[in-house]
């Protein structure tokens, strides 16, 4: 039972992380489309935020294990 709950929790974490990454990626695409000359800066900011989100998701996965 506990193993199943863990798996459900892992699934929830992945859903959350996926939504977050999708939002970040989508917004970055919009921003780059509007201002292609700022693509470099937007990408860097995007990667930083994606990394922060990913760290959170991984922390949840590891603590839940």
């Amino acid at each position: 039972m506990e193993g199943t709950l863990n798996l459900i929790g892992a699934g929830l974490v992945v859903i959350g992380a996926g939504l977050g990454l999708g939002k970040i990626g989508g917004s970055a695409m919009d921003a780059i489309a509007r201002q292609p000359e700022a693509a470099g800066k937007i990408q860097t900011a995007m990667i930083i935020i994606a990394a922060l989100l990913e760290g959170l998701a991984f922390a949840a996965l590891i603590l839940g294990k």
Partner: protein
């Protein structure tokens, strides 16, 4: 020479591309043998085995992946289970237990025998060395944890060996680059690959995050940590079975470096913002203080978890995809699917290897930058 330069490059590239497959080639031979063995068995037996075998194989694969993720006292490239032989090489074991004890890890025979050194007996149990008697008794407590004495272990394990190897490689690469600048302003040979990377760290990571005035002091750390993590990540992609950055002790240590460098180079403004946040009411200041103190700890914690989890996840995914060959029923279809997926994930992992090194360096410089930057008093706070 008959072979012109270009085909040679292609051959080397192909050889490098095929290289990862060799480490698993022997294991796949084993599985083929087992299958032919199954055919010889009678129908009833085959039926019985078919029910028992997949479970057994899954357990075996699980154990193998777990074993791969851990540090060990020797390099084992592959094992012959039928003859009980392991192919690889041993590394030195260094123990401090009433004096220095140095011996080769081959004395353990991969944990199967007890090593005797100067009248002391040592036994390997689940990858850890315990002191024991001549019979190799291990005593357990209620939770089935061994209660034997663990001697202080300074062994050159697989991870330590890989880190030493990487450090020496880095020293050679960068001392060579530094020397080449004395002769002429443009580097020669391999330095041409390194120079743009160093410039990239400086222009894209250090200067924007730390600032034009103060970045120089931290360049040494940022470059070291970037190249160390990158090379170790890439070493993890080779069939040597190294998993250094996927070892949580290593990432904890790297994150601690960032933590201490950040705290010790922090200026007055940084501490003021932690302990007595300016511009907010006094009750708020008291609430914010523990949160800010905790915040300094969670930043390096996120760093260490991210690197560890990313690399571990990558290794597990690749190993699991390769394991598809063994747990599947039809080798003819499983083999191409498994190899194709493995190749795909491996390419992504090469990208991840760079990205994680980049992100670690980037966030380190961001944290350092937060601590050292001059505060702009545009508004009241």
């Amino acid at each position: 020479m008959v072979i012109s330069k270009k085909p040679l490059h292609v051959i080397v590239a192909i050889a490098l591309a095929i290289l990862p497959l060799f480490s698993f080639a022997n294991v796949s031979n084993d599985s083929v043998k087992e299958e032919s063995h199954e055919v010889h068995a009678t129908a009833a037996e085959t039926h019985h085995e078919a029910a028992a075998e997949p479970q057994d194989k899954k357990v075996k694969v699980d154990a193998y992946i777990q074993h791969h993720l851990q540090d060990s006292y020797d390099f084992t490239f592959f094992s012959d289970e039928k003859e009980g032989k392991h192919y690889g090489f041993s590394l030195p074991v260094i123990l401090i237990d009433n004096g220095l004890k140095v011996f080769s890890s081959s004395k353990f025979h991969h944990g199967e025998t007890i090593a005797e050194v100067d009248g002391n007996y040592y036994k390997m149990y689940h990858g850890k060395i315990y002191k024991t008697d001549a019979l190799g008794t291990i005593e357990y407590d209620e939770a089935h944890h061994p209660t034997n004495v663990k001697p202080l272990d300074f062994s050159i394990t697989k991870n330590v060996f890989s880190m030493l190897f990487t450090s020496i490689l880095l020293l050679f690469m960068f001392i060579g680059l530094a020397k080449s600048y004395k002769k002429e302003p443009i580097p020669t040979g391999f330095g041409r690959v390194l120079e743009p990377l160093i410039l990239f760290i400086r222009e894209e990571i250090a200067i924007p995050n730390i600032g034009e005035k103060k970045y120089r002091k931290f360049m040494g750390y940022l470059l070291t940590v970037f190249f160390l993590i990158w090379l170790l990540n890439l070493l993890g992609m080779t069939p040597l079975g190294i998993n250094v950055t996927g070892n949580i002790s290593v990432t904890i240590c790297l994150a601690l470096f960032t933590y201490f460098i950040t705290q010790f180079s922090a200026n007055k403004d940084y501490w003021k913002h932690i302990f007595w946040m300016p511009g907010v009411p006094v009750p708020m200041k008291i609430i914010l203080m523990p949160i800010e103190i905790l915040g300094t700890l969670t930043k390096p914690f996120a760093l260490l978890i991210r690197l560890f989890a990313n690399i571990t996840a990558g290794h597990v995914v690749i190993m699991s995809l390769i394991a598809m060959i063994f747990v599947g029923k039809n080798l003819a279809t499983d083999l191409p699917i498994s190899l194709g997926l493995t190749l795909f994930i491996s390419i992504i992992e090469v990208l991840v290897a760079f990205l994680q090194a980049f992100i670690f360096t980037m966030l380190s410089s961001l944290f350092i930058g937060m601590a050292v930057q001059d505060h702009h008093h545009d508004d009241n706070h």
